[in-house]
């Protein structure tokens, strides 16, 4: 089966899963919230990310896509699978990796003084292996929601599967604020700070992004989108990125 057929099969499978999905509407696209789906609940989310940066006199654009299925194992533990992370380059869809994530909710952002959760992710591709851990914090003040994530990831890369000759680490933190104008429309902003460590030896320049986000909720689906500009001046990183998450239920 070639790549295009594989991609079509994945998309078809996801669309069929929509029959049993109840989307937990996201307020943010980069920041994770501490709440998890109820036991037995299935959610489907589709991500699209566009990153662009200057290179010489032109620009380099990158389009990434992700299809995620989340399942409530218990009322506090949620498992998720990134069925496929893929990108479009030169008009071709190229598979990148598949990942599994676990989110364990420890405290609730409404009933407890501070909502908290632990996030773990294992990602495997034909050219990379990645481990990621995060602490998620959140507090809801009625229509206002504040969320903060901090985490570390370790990544091994190589020319082919199992032969990883490069390793790197990254510390990241993100912050989001969202205000609910109505149950159908929320507006806010997100902040992202990344600090890479090549070979776990040297810290690169910190990269900081910030920008507005909006979330639209409808009867059977939601769309949340964020546009962020780089507020630092690291030239080999994207100077603008945009992400949209489309969730649906039937």
């Amino acid at each position: 089966m070639n790549l295009q057929k594989t991609t079509c099969a994945i998309l078809l499978g996801i669309s069929l899963l929509g029959d049993v999905a109840t989307a937990g509407d996201r307020r943010f696209t980069y920041v994770y919230e501490t709440t998890t789906g109820a036991k037995g609940e299935i959610e489907v989310e589709n991500f699209a990310t566009w990153k662009t940066r200057r290179e010489g006199s032109g620009r380099v654009n990158e389009f990434d896509f992700r299809h995620e299925i989340e399942y409530g194992v218990t009322d506090r533990l949620q498992a998720g699978i990134y069925v496929a992370d893929w990108k479009v380059a030169d008009g071709q869809a190229i598979y990148k990796d598949t990942a599994v994530e676990l989110i364990y909710n420890m405290t609730n952002p409404v009933t407890d003084l501070l909502g908290s959760a632990l996030y773990g992710e294992v990602k495997l591709g034909d050219q990379l292996f990645k481990l990621e851990g995060k602490l998620l914090l959140q507090k809801n003040f009625g229509p206002i929601v504040l969320a903060y994530n901090a985490g570390i990831e370790a990544e091994w890369e190589g020319a082919r599967f199992g032969n990883y000759d490069e390793r790197s680490g990254e510390f990241m933190e993100s912050f989001g604020v969202s205000y609910q104008f109505s149950p159908h429309f929320l507006l806010g902003g997100e902040f992202l700070h990344e600090l890479g460590f090549d070979e776990w030896q040297e810290a690169g320049d910190p990269v900081i992004y910030a920008g507005p986000n909006a979330s639209f909720r409808f009867d059977r689906y939601f769309v949340t989108t964020t546009a962020m500009v780089q507020v630092t001046a690291v030239t080999d990183e994207a100077d603008f990125q945009w992400r949209a998450i489309f969730g649906m239920h039937f």
Binding site: T22, G37, L113, N140
Partner: protein, 126 residues
Amino acid sequence: MRRTFNGAPFLECIFEKRGYVHKSQLTLAGMVLLLAGSASFQAGAPAITPEMTKVAMSAGDSFEKLEKGRRLLATRCTTCHALEPVAKYTIQEWREIVCDMADRSGLKEEEQQEIQAYLNAARQAL
């Protein structure tokens, strides 16, 4: 500009020396959140009062059922949206809202009844 460090001081590098994250800022932000948090919860899902318990008992519901209903309302509904004031809708309107949202929020029949019992008691006790 490159920053170097050696193994062990990794976290120190992030949290202290380089000043990427200041502990004092995090502590202050955390305290503000902790203080302001409980107030918003009380406004959205009022605490169970003796009047509410009396209303519930007369309808054949228990205090425990009210507690479960309140917790479900505050945890499951707020995953997607802020809580509406109890006084905003009539009992009949709340019944329709809970029924309407049950599928979306994955509420089982028993959980719907618990939320409805809490809302009935809270609305009548106003």
